[in-house]
Structures are given as structure tokens and as C-alpha cells.
């Protein structure tokens, strides 16, 4: 028995990624990182800014996401996100810009606690990539 399952990442514009040979995915769920293996219980959760790590036969891939919802059902993991970047393709100056925006956002005085938390997460993640 193989221990592989299917992953689909979609953003509003298109189907971003689809793989059938995934053995493990680590997602930055809202209440902490979560690893998903085959035959995980059906789950719906949403993401905070962070790194999605996909372990597949073809190698390990890492993606930066800003938000999203995940659904795992019948050994298919769907990730819906409005902003996703492959870490390999990310450019240095693009990263800097994202970081700057995130820092600006988190330093706004009138921001709510939840937004502040999200912005801080964003800053932290972007810094760790750097």
C-alpha cells in the first residue's frame, strides 16, 4: 500500500498546483502548524500566513501563503488561498516589498488584535525566508 495522497492548491485565478504523489504536507493552520498524512480524518481549517511544505516523491516543495482554507477529505487535500508564492521563484526585492508592507500593516495604530496577529505572523515568516 502506498501512503500517498492527492493535493490541490487553487487560487481565485486558476488551479495553482495539483499533485498525486504527496506523502506529507505541513500547513500553517490558524492554531499552529499541522502535519497531514494519508488517511487523516476529514478536516476543515484555515491558514495564517506561513509556509506550506509539501513532501512528494518528486521532492520537497515550499510555498508561502498569506491566507487560505484547507479541506481534507477522502485523501484529497484542497487548499484555497488568495495569495501563494513558490519559494523557489520568489525574488529578493519582491520579498523585501512584501516584508515592508507587512511591517507597515502591523505598525498601524488602529489595527485590531486579530489583524495585528496576522500581520506579525506575516513579518515573522517573511523574515525567516530571508
Amino acid at each position: 500500500m502506498s501512503d500517498e495522497f492527492k493535493i490541490e492548491i487553487v487560487n481565485p485565478e486558476k488551479s495553482f498546483l495539483s499533485k498525486e504523489d504527496v506523502s506529507e504536507v505541513v500547513v500553517p493552520a490558524f492554531e499552529g502548524e499541522m502535519g497531514i498524512l494519508k488517511d487523516h480524518i476529514s478536516i476543515i481549517s484555515f491558514l495564517k500566513p506561513g509556509i506550506v511544505t509539501i513532501q512528494a516523491k518528486s521532492g520537497e516543495e515550499k510555498y508561502y501563503v498569506e491566507d487560505g482554507i484547507i479541506e481534507f477529505k477522502n485523501n484529497t487535500l484542497s487548499i484555497l488561498t488568495s495569495y501563494i508564492l513558490n519559494l523557489k521563484d520568489i525574488e529578493k526585492n519582491e520579498l523585501q516589498e512584501l516584508l515592508k508592507n507587512a511591517e507597515n500593516e502591523s505598525n498601524k495604530p488602529e489595527i485590531s488584535d486579530q489583524l495585528k496577529y496576522l500581520a506579525d505572523q506575516k513579518v515573522e515568516t517573511l523574515k525567516s525566508i530571508n
Partner: protein, 291 residues
């Protein structure tokens, strides 16, 4: 009868118009392909989103505590209508169809004594609605600068709507757009997005036992605003495909009509040229005879 010169001028002007409509048709055809592609690619996202929400909402037992975006504000007095149209004209009945659909809906609301508020997206809709419903339009949003429909524009519209809902400025929100069926047919649609209509899709997938992290309520209240942006984005994608389709068939018609007109004018031109020659010949012959 128009002189030969006049006819010639008309023929050239019709011909150059034909060139323009032909070019517009080809541009629209190329854009249509792209718009159709992105409409198709965008579909999985909104479908998945819808499924998840259906799953979630069927799990919620207590309607009282459900988020207001799902259950509504409990009243249905104030209606907000979001009318999505194009920014450019020359696309056949595309804008007129949406406006017609919207206007008949407005008339119905009026009869029922409901209060009406309008948001127009795209300048053409604003132009046509402001004559009759000018005082009802509370916002006009236009994305003239963005080339293709993109998610961030949709998110902007979504945020405006949600903000207004939270301030309790309206109870029910409906969006109007054209659904793309094929190049010739676009169906104007009215879709209610607040409160969300979950009854229409009675699927039997409520059997699934999902685990939720965090709990259902929190996920739902985060998901619903996103869903509104997604629905608007979907409408925008459908709209842009429809717009190009409508423009393509309109320009195809225009090109054909121009061709017919050129043929007709050419016949008239040749006929009057022939008539002039005959007249001159008669004059010469009768002149020679009288000598």
C-alpha cells in the same frame, strides 16, 4: 440623386468603418479566448468554496447564533443591488440586458415598498442608471485601469459591501451580471449573496463528519466575507467573458452590414456613372445629327 463624388466619399467612409469593426471583432475574439480561459480556471475555487460553506452551514444547528452574513439581519426592508457592467460600449446588448434585468427587479421592489440602494460596478451601468435611479446610487466603482478582471478588484468591492452590511445599511444584497453561455448567448443573472442562499443546493453530503479547527462558527465567520469576494470575482469573470463574446458578435454583425452597404453603394455608383456616360453620348450624337 447624390453626385458621383458624394457616393465615392460614402463608399470610402463605410469601408474604413468596416475595417475598424473588423479589427475590433478580432481583438474581441482574442480577448474572449483569454477571458473564457480565466473564467474556467476560476471555477474550481468558487466551487470548492461553495462546497465547504454548504458543509459548514449544514453542520450549524442553531440558526440564532449563526453569523449574520449567513442568516441575514432578520429583516428584508432595505435591498442593496450591485450591478456589474462593462467600462466600454460597442458590445451589443450586453449592458442593456443587465440593466433591463436590474430595472425590472427595481420596479418589483418599488411596488413592494422596499427601500433600494444601488452600487454600480463599471461606468456604463452608472451612465444608464443615473438618469432614473440617480438618487439611489450610493457608490460607483470602476476598474478602467485594470486590464483583466482580477481578484483584488473583487476583494475591494466585497469589502465595501461587507462594511455596509456591518453598519446595517442594508438587509439583502443581490448582484446582477451576465452569465456566459456561448458567444451569442449571455444570460443576465440576479444572484443573492447576502444572506447566502444555502437551500438551493440540497446535496446529501451532510453525512461527512468533519473535524473543525477552530470551531465551526469561527471558520464560518472568516469564510463568509471571503465567499462574497469570491462570488463577485466569479461574476466579474463571467461578465468579462460575456462582454467580449457580445462585442465579438456585435462587431461581426456590423462588419457584415457594412459589407452589404458597400455593395449597395457600389451598384448605385456604377449605375449613375453609366447614366452619366449614356447622357453624354446622347448629347454628342444628337449634336452631330443636328449639323
Amino acid at each position: 440623386m447624390a453626385s458621383l463624388d458624394d457616393l465615392k466619399k460614402r463608399i470610402t467612409s463605410v469601408k474604413s468603418t468596416q475595417k475598424i469593426t473588423k479589427a475590433m471583432k478580432m481583438v474581441a475574439a482574442a480577448k474572449l479566448k483569454r477571458a473564457q480561459d480565466s473564467a474556467e480556471k476560476g471555477r474550481p475555487y468558487s466551487e470548492k468554496m461553495n462546497n465547504i460553506i454548504l458543509n459548514l452551514s449544514s453542520g450549524i444547528s442553531d440558526k440564532e447564533t449563526a453569523p449574520k452574513l449567513l442568516s441575514g439581519s432578520g429583516k428584508e426592508q432595505v435591498h442593496l443591488c450591485v450591478v456589474l457592467t462593462s467600462d466600454r460600449g460597442l458590445c451589443g446588448g450586453f449592458n442593456a440586458n443587465i440593466i433591463k434585468k436590474a430595472k425590472s427587479y427595481f420596479a418589483k421592489l418599488n411596488k413592494e415598498g422596499k427601500e433600494l440602494k444601488i452600487i454600480t460596478v463599471g461606468s456604463k451601468g452608472n451612465d444608464q442608471l443615473k438618469r432614473v435611479y440617480g438618487n439611489k446610487i450610493i457608490e460607483n466603482i470602476s476598474f478602467k485601469n485594470s486590464k483583466n478582471a482580477n481578484y483584488f478588484d473583487a476583494e475591494k468591492v466585497g469589502k465595501i459591501i461587507i462594511e455596509k452590511f456591518q453598519k446595517e445599511e442594508f438587509d439583502i444584497c443581490t448582484i446582477f451580471y451576465n452569465q456566459f453561455k456561448n458567444v451569442i448567448t449571455q444570460i443576465p443573472q440576479a444572484q443573492q449573496i447576502i444572506p447566502l442562499n444555502t437551500k438551493s443546493d440540497d446535496q446529501n453530503n451532510s453525512e461527512d463528519n468533519y473535524e473543525f479547527e477552530p470551531d465551526e462558527d469561527e471558520i464560518l465567520s472568516n469564510l463568509l466575507p471571503k465567499n462574497i469576494s469570491t462570488q463577485i470575482f466569479k461574476a466579474m469573470l463571467e461578465n468579462s467573458a460575456s462582454e467580449q463574446g457580445a462585442r465579438m458578435s456585435a462587431m461581426d454583425n456590423a462588419t457584415r452590414n457594412a459589407g452589404e452597404m458597400v455593395d449597395k453603394l457600389t451598384i448605385e455608383y456604377n449605375r449613375s456613372r453609366q447614366a452619366a456616360i449614356t447622357k453624354e453620348l446622347i448629347e454628342i450624337i444628337s449634336g452631330a445629327e443636328s449639323l
